[in-house]
Amino acid sequence: MSENKPKQENLPRIGFYVCHCGSNISSMVDVAAVQKYAAGLPGVVVSRDYKYMCSDPGQEMIAKDIKEHKLERLVVSACSPNLHEETFRKAAARGGLNPFYFQMVNIREHVAWVHTDKKAATEKAMQLVSAAIARVAFHQALDKKRVPVDPNVMVVGGGIAGIHAALTLANAGKKVTLVEREATIGGHMALFDKTFPTLDCAACILTPKMSAVKAHPNITLWTYSEVEKVEGYVGNYKVTVKRKPRYVKEDLCVGCMECIDACVFKEAKFADKFNQGLGKRKPVYIDFPQATPKVVLIDKDTCLHFKTGKCKQSCATACDRKAFDFNQKEETKELQVGAIVLATGFKAFDPARSPQYGYGRYPGVYTALEIERLVNASGPTSGEITLRDGKHPKAVGIIHCVGSRDAKTNKWCSRVCCMYSLKLAHLIKEHSGAEVYNFYIDMRAPGKAYEEFYDKLLGEGVHFIRGRVDEVTDWAMTPDEEGKLVLRVEDTLAGFVRRIPVDMVVLSTGLEPQADAQEVRRRFNIGCGTEGFFQERHPKLAPVNTFTDGIYIAGACQAPRDIPDTVAQAGAAAAEALALIDAGFVELEPNTSHVIEDECCGCKSCVPLCPYSAITFDEVKKKAVINEVLCKGCGVCAAACPSGSIVQNLFDDDEIFSEIRGILK
């Protein structure tokens, strides 16, 4: 029951350093006074201030003092530990001191940058210094643990991001498993006809990469599959994947599509999801001719066999490779991987949430993705722009920012809509000769050759009206408007309200997180921002890393982005995964918790609390056990252990209480 206070004569020899950070700290904190104050604190044998502690001479000074003054502990009062903790730990090590005999005091972000009263700021700095000096005496020598890394990688999502990441990793010689939820890879890009701003054919640049994935000896492609469970930790993940039944054996089917012709349904009569419902498909189908893998599948909901059990199975008969298996079951597979790249993409905004635009009410209103299929040479109309009633539009209105930059729906700019709206305007005009009106709030064209593309459109005679469309209506006010869809908009450049009658309205819907983004983020133990996109570790300096080591993100699952940025990110994510794998091991921060076995009474209080599932209960010894590799050092268990039998390195009671006493002194 005695207080654990080290006795004055037993205090370790402490070296204290305070940094000016140029004038960042010294302009608001009296650095010399802090230096003098620390010199008088118990245990301190060296106290110095220096212009830039992080500089080479600053670090050298520390290493030299450790040797000359036989320092046993080190306290540096400077900037955030996020920035330079590692720097000073290394300096300590160079001087021959265990790097964890070190404590950093942040008097820049926590003091200098947030205060305006120099006297009070200096006092606060002194209190923080006193706390660190009091705690550092209790520090223990610690070692970083090394864990080997499994060299295999899983990529989740087979859009252009996942495809590019998988190919990059596979080309580097890593074994990659690419898991895609749909029956084919290709993602949204496979829906597009052309890409902005170069207008090169999407299929021409995408399908070779899709085939390369299928053919690559280092890539295992699992489509129609979903990740069910992720266990383990950086370098050593165990993943459970659920493979849905296609009722067609993937290794036997060659994609000849004879079965589709032979299906008992002579006409395709079911809505074709790939074509956004604009085309029809049979119960046995393939999304598009270049689908990868080129394997048909059966839609259980429409197939006569599954619905009635009374089908002559003409599809199976037509298959000379005997690929059909109506008894196929869902399969569960397990994977061991060292790193995971998440490239799960986005969901297009549902325009039914903006009812003023009449989507679903007026057949002449389309989403941008529907138009992508209509202008596509391999789409349901072979690239002919026809309305749902078969007529050809003479005038087309494209509304920008549907579900973007809108306080009622999504506040963010979806980044790609301006550019794809320009592209669609060009293609519609090219394919149909119709008059095209673009209704925009601001024209955002900040990419390479994007502004030039906008210029080109201006020269093509496409109309641009600056203003958010108020409503789309079929209520005619003049004979001209009869039978038309009228867009009512305040033209903010002209300064009056206009009514533009058109035959077809295109809604440039924004990009949203996938509907199951929250579930997925929990499954992979990563974070989401407020808008629901996956959270990067740092918006500028770690854009493809997450807060869970070994899990990387690429493409529109992180934020709306276009193809060039997506591909660049996918490459970056692959490079980060390679850096992890090729290092061969990971070093784990030693701020982990451990159970003092003799003292644990086996009450299990800690077991359900660990957010990283690092605690298990040893049923033989009747003690809790912490896997220090899984432990992230959050401290929940140490705080909750009712008998104080869990200790967290660098945060044990002596360290924390002495720190509090140091502050309150």
């Binding site: 209080s605 209960f617 008998s643 104080g644």
Partner: protein, 321 residues
């Protein structure tokens, strides 16, 4: 015949249960009496303060002091015993951490005196007379011990060498402590003379405690039919076992009562109540504030429940206003 080692027993703010515990040694007490000379034991033998004062310093081998410290008289006595004894053993929960008397630290001295001498039911004191440390009566000066501002544990007043936990300490740990003292095989100073592992270790119900309590309701003993085999926490009863030092052999759970924490925390815990709260409340199933509050409503007296024996050692020391 050489002198037998001298031993003193003393009581401060206590109920007498600790004295009872010594008597509870039953026939073992004869061994103690045979081995030592008792030089002070107010409950059983007639010694005056002057008798003890007359003894040379450090002439008593061990002083067993129970009860919390509230008055100036208690302070005087324990300071004197500290001088006379080679070893001071803090005996029982009140001496160790304030015990039941320390629950008074929830109230200020003034409000306690006002209630007791003016407001409490049945009080007839129109003159609002209160006892004074010093008063005159027919020319004589009368004195009374002073009532201090708060209840303290023994080690908050004098240096303590060993602690015997419990309300009261069980005969088994008392006997073990006496034997250790007589044999001179003493653990390091400051040790609590009881296993430094929480009670669940020795509780027969331990195996039935689920990993996740997922508590949806707290119950009080009179509200349910208590299952004699199953973990009491799993039945929704506030059992302090996980946050309480073992050594009593789980007497209360064995008698179908939840542990109330009288053995105090393990050596690694500074504040037993806070530790228990942070542990068990983390195991409450609901995650929404309102629903959590509804579960907590099942504990009408949190301080009396979690700090029944330890308010003097609570990090939040006492009520100021």
């Amino acid at each position: 015949m050489p002198d037998k080692p001298k031993v003193a027993f003393y009581w401060c703010a206590s109920c007498g249960g600790c004295e009872e515990a010594v008597v509870d040694l039953a026939e073992d007490i004869l061994k103690v009496v045979e081995a030592v000379d008792i030089v002070l034991w107010p409950v059983a033998m007639d010694f005056k303060k002057a008798d003890v004062e007359a003894r040379p310093d450090k002439s008593i081998v061990a002083g067993f002091i129970n009860g919390a410290i509230r008055t100036s008289e208690q302070e005087e006595w324990v300071r004197m015993l500290r001088r006379k004894c080679q070893v001071v053993v803090s005996f029982g929960a009140c001496a160790n951490s304030g015990g039941i008397p320390a629950l008074a630290n929830q109230f200020q001295k003034e409000s306690i005196l006002k209630y007791v001498y003016e407001d409490c039911p049945g009080m007839d004191n129109p003159g609002k007379t209160r006892p004074q440390p010093e008063s005159k009566d027919e020319g004589r000066t009368l004195t009374l011990p002073e009532f201090r501002g708060m209840v303290r544990s023994l080690d908050q007043v004098i240096e303590v060498d060993y602690y015997l936990p419990g309300c009261p300490p069980t005969p088994k740990i008392i006997m073990a402590a006496v034997q250790a003292l007589l044999s001179g095989k003493l653990p390091p100073k400051g040790t609590v003379l009881s296993p430094d592992i929480a009670l669940c270790e020795e509780c027969k119900r331990k195996d039935s405690k689920p990993a996740d309590l997922a508590l949806t309701e707290f119950k009080r003993p009179h509200q349910i039919q208590i299952d004699p085999e199953k973990c009491l926490l799993a039945q929704g009863l506030v059992c302090m076992g996980p946050a309480t030092r073992g050594g009593c052999e789980a007497l209360c759970p064995a008698g179908n009562m939840a542990c109330t924490g009288c053995f105090g925390p393990t050596s690694r815990v500074k504040d037993q109540g806070a530790k228990f709260v942070s542990s068990v409340f983390s195991n409450i199933a609901p995650k929404e504030e309102k629903e959590i509050d509804a579960v907590l409503d099942g504990i009408p007296d949190p301080i009396g429940t979690f700090y029944r024996y330890g308010l003097s050692k609570c990090l939040l020391r006492r009520k100021l206003q």
